[in-house]
């Protein structure tokens, strides 16, 4: 419990309607989308950088940890905070300050929801390229902190490729601007990227200058079904080798195909080993050539069935399978853990197989969806936490998946972050000198370890 004195001071800073600390309201800020729970002492909703500076100074004075929070859709426990932390919710600090169609930039406050930015950019024929599946609710601040990726990531990259400059309140309470938000000319030591993916441990992003991307005039959507994972893997490699860069290239494995078919009855072959969903965009001349190349790759790699959407309705039909994944698998078991591993593209098929084997070995359900274009796999382990036989083996199965990922030359997180969840795997993924160096950086920003402590670095 935070002392009344502190609560009162917080109220002075942001107004009493913007401070919560009752028992019941705190339980609704104790979670994010991960299985981890925190025990916050207060939640505050600042709406200006100055307010945040005041909050940080107050927290420093009383030695209270703070945790920034956007929409709370974090999958790794990064937004729940340690006991008695002040949660700084950016949800109401959410204006789009400028869309500059000539420079193709947007200047936004951190609480802006990704989708709101998409909607604001659209009339200018522009989009904000990073499109995490949580984009309808997750915030730009959260996206930056987790370096969120999305379905368009193969072609357009993750969040950090689209951040031009930031305003950040440091753990000391000082405010800095970086990159494109500086008036100085190059060269500078651009600190922008150190905050992308830092999970809020180095400071709070309070403003972001983002780059916008023209929306391409033509989109073509395709699906192909394969009898073996090897064929599907080889097909992905061939498409990339041909120089085609799809906007989307998703693989669904057999467990997912079966579940989706039982759930949504789309006429998918339930014995297929893999389904690839592909999308390309560009000018019509470009997409035409790309589609031809892709069909060739489908054929060369024994696709048993492929489809190309002729119109928007057919396009939506093809997307149905992908969209139904969560709902379909969620029906099977009440609890799940989703992983976010990355392997080199040419190890994708091998990795998918290894995970399927692990599912067999522990007799649990693991559904696999992968962003094939960048080797990012999301094996999701489904179980019933009330059945000891299932709950007890989950951790072991997870450990094994991570071990195999490292064996295949991969790493432990592509886009969901480390948070609390993957702390224990950090020493597997990074050498001691790398970890030491990361810690040194954290210390130089936050010597007292008050800003989002306990996550990311073991």
């Amino acid at each position: 419990m935070l002392k009344n004195e502190i609560i009162n001071k917080l109220r002075k800073i942001v107004g009493s309607e913007n401070v919560l600390n009752s028992k019941i309201t705190m339980t609704t800020y104790a979670y994010d989308s991960s299985p981890f729970l925190g025990k916050p002492g207060a939640v505050v909703f600042p709406t200006t950088t100055e307010m945040i500076v005041e909050i940080i100074k107050l927290a420093n004075k009383y030695n209270i940890p703070v945790t920034p929070r956007g929409a709370g859709t974090c999958l790794c426990g990064g937004a729940v905070g340690v006991e008695d932390a002040i949660i700084i919710s950016l949800a109401k600090f959410n204006r789009i300050l400028e869309i500059n169609a000539v420079n193709r930039t947007a200047l936004v406050e951190p609480g802006v929801v990704n989708k709101e930015l998409q909607l604001a950019a659209e009339p200018y024929g522009l989009m904000y390229a990073p499109d995490p599946a949580s984009q309808n609710v997750s915030t730009i601040g959260g996206n930056i902190a987790e370096n969120a990726g999305g379905i368009r990531g193969v072609k357009y990259g993750c969040t950090k490729e689209h951040v031009l400059g930031l305003e950040v309140v440091l753990p000391s309470g000082e405010v800095i601007t970086t990159g494109g938000l500086n008036s100085q000319v190059d060269p500078e030591i651009d600190l922008t990227y150190i905050f992308c993916g830092a999970e809020g441990t180095l400071g709070l992003v309070t403003k972001a200058l983002l780059s916008l991307t023209p929306i391409n005039s033509d989109t073509k959507t395709m699906t192909a079904v394969f009898a073996t994972l090897e064929d599907a893997g080889a097909c992905v490699s061939e498409i990339i080798a041909k120089g085609v860069i799809p906007t989307t290239m998703e693989i669904l494995d057999n467990t997912v195909i079966k579940a989706v078919e039982d759930y949504a009855k789309l006429g998918l072959p339930k014995d297929a080993a893999a389904l690839i969903l592909l999308e390309v965009d560009g000018f019509p001349a470009e997409t035409k050539a790309m589609v031809e190349n892709i069909i060739q790759a489908f054929k060369n790699n024994n696709s048993i069935n492929y489809k190309i959407a002729k119109d928007e309705k057919e396009r939506q039909d093809l997307w149905k399978a992908r969209r139904a994944v969560n709902g379909a698998l969620g029906k099977l078991k009440p609890s799940n853990v989703v992983h976010d591993i990355v392997v080199p593209r040419d190890r994708l098929a091998v990795m998918l197989k290894k995970v399927a084997k692990i599912a067999e070995k522990y007799d649990i359900i693991i559904g696999q969806v992968a962003h094939a274009g960048d080797g990012n796999l999301h094996p999701t382990l489904y179980y019933d936490h009330r059945i000891p036989k299932e709950a007890d083996v989950i951790e072991e199965a997870c450990d094994e998946i991570i071990k195999e990922t490292i064996n295949e030359g991969g790493t432990i997180s592509g886009e969901h972050g480390i948070g609390l969840e993957k702390l224990k795997y950090m020493p597997l993924a990074f050498s001691q000198p790398s970890l030491d160096y990361m810690k040194k950086i954290k210390e130089s920003f936050d010597p007292e370890n008050r800003t989002n402590p306990g996550i990311l670095l073991p």
């Binding site: 919560l20 009752s22 028992k23 019941i24 309201t25 339980t27 609704t28 800020y29 979670y31 994010d32 989308s33 909703f45 929409a71 709370g72 859709t73 919710s89 949800a91 109401k92 929801v113 989708k115 949580s134 309808n136 609710v137 997750s138 969560n326 709902g327 969620g330 029906k331 009440p334 609890s335 799940n336």
Partner: protein
């Protein structure tokens, strides 16, 4: 549902947070305790024994602040029926504590009895016409009823039922025999909708019977008063079972959805459930029915830009989305334009606007602002509860645009042809 079943259902909520996008109370407040995810979390903790329903007034408040608009459920990847869970908790509160006195007077005391609603309407009419209004206000007798008064529309002189002898005609060689479920709101507060429904149906060769039904029970249901809800349902089922129409027509989305919900209400009473199923199959929203039978297209012009607000009970409970728009588009001179968030709740939600005025008005303002952006001069919708709330919104925003049922516009277009 018993505790275990509720818990089973709650566990499907994996806290993904996607409901933030569509939950109106979250959209206007930004608070995690005002979204399906937070509400589900609180219910789960209480059921698991980590919190106590009875000792935490805030839980009750957050549960009651839900509009039961179903937007979360429709959008939820895991299909979590949050409104159903909320209803269960409300039922628990009502069964342990009884209804709050204001709700009791309003629902059991008034809505449960046709005669009393009529009396209240007539009294209120006097009250609106005379200066008593300010007098009562000044005395501040009852805050709640004052709030209700702000929202009351200008009341019609006569209820629809009172006008039936003049309205109902014998149709020569009727093509359809339909029962018109005349709900209390349309009957008492928006009689122009009821009159239009009858005219339009008769124009389309329907022989109409208007059975002597009671309130559908929507207010009682939403307050968790299951006993009274059931009593009314049984009365209505018995009344409707006497007839054998081709369709049971509703022009109130709420009545329509509630009539269909009778099926679930009698889970453990197979006899009533069977009856409820037969009746549910016949219940048709007026717009969908007109589209189905290929309504007459001989209409005169109405020159106006119109936008359509989807009532929660229309779009998510009855799955009616296209039909009313088709009707509007078919009227010569009407330009139908979509507004943003057309299917987001207007914050009326029965008596929600009276008991949770702050949230309700924020949600309402969002709706009216979306309406303003369209430049439309008429706001169309298919539920009198929405009509009441939206008209109130127009007043608050000092707009004069009328809120109309598509069937009113259709009736007007038919009349314009005749002229």
């Amino acid at each position: 549902m018993n505790k275990n079943v509720i818990l089973e259902v709650l566990m499907k909520c994996n806290r993904c947070g996607l409901c933030q996008e569509v939950c109106p109370t979250y959209r206007v407040s930004g608070n995690e305790f005002a979204v399906a995810r937070g509400r589900n979390r609180l219910i789960r903790m209480a059921i698991e024994g980590q919190l106590e329903f009875d000792k935490e007034p805030e839980i009750e408040q957050f549960i009651n602040e839900c509009l039961l608009c179903k937007a979360c459920e429709t959008n939820c990847p895991s299909g979590v029926p949050t409104p159903e869970l909320i209803s269960q908790v409300r039922e628990y509160y009502t069964s342990t504590k009884g209804l709050p006195i204001a709700k009791k007077i309003m629902y059991r005391g008034v809505f449960s009895h046709n005669k009393r609603i009529d009396l209240v309407r007539r009294l209120a009419k006097v009250y609106q016409k005379t200066g008593i209004k300010t007098l009562v206000r000044m005395t501040g007798v009852n805050n709640i009823f004052n709030k209700a008064d702000d929202m009351l529309p200008d009341l019609p002189k006569n209820s629809v039922r009172g006008q039936l002898p003049m309205l109902l005609k014998n149709i020569h060689q009727p093509k359809y025999k339909v029962a018109y479920f005349l709900g209390c709101s349309v009957n008492n507060f928006f009689s122009s909708i009821g009159v239009a429904t009858i005219k339009v149906l008769q124009k389309n060769s329907c022989q109409i019977i208007v059975p002597d039904v009671n309130c559908c029970g929507a207010p009682h249901n939403s307050a968790g008063d299951q006993r009274e809800f059931k009593r009314l349902a049984i009365k209505n089922l018995k009344e409707l079972a006497k007839l054998d129409p081709d369709a049971i027509i509703v022009d109130c989305s709420t009545c329509g959805s509630i009539l269909k919900e009778y099926v679930g209400l009698f889970e453990n009473e197979p006899e009533y459930q069977k009856l409820a199923k037969q009746i549910a199959e016949k219940v048709k929203d007026i717009s969908s029915f007109l589209i189905e039978i290929g309504f007459k297209k001989e209409m005169g012009e109405i020159k106006a830009r119109v936008t359509y607000h989807d009532p929660c009970h229309g779009v998510r409970f009855l799955n009616v989305q296209e039909a009313p728009r088709e009707i509007l588009k078919s009227i010569p001179g009407i330009e139908l334009i979509e507004m943003n968030e057309a299917d987001m709740c207007c914050g009326g939600a029965g008596s929600y606007s009276i008991f949770y005025p702050k949230l309700s008005r924020q949600i309402l303002s969002r709706k009216i602002n979306n309406f303003k952006k369209t430049g439309a001069s008429i706001l169309a919708t298919s539920c009198p509860a929405c009509t009441m709330q939206l008209s109130f919104g127009m007043k608050l925003h000092e707009l004069t645009s009328p809120v109309k049922h598509p069937v009113e516009l259709l009736a007007e277009a038919y009349d314009n042809k005749a002229k």
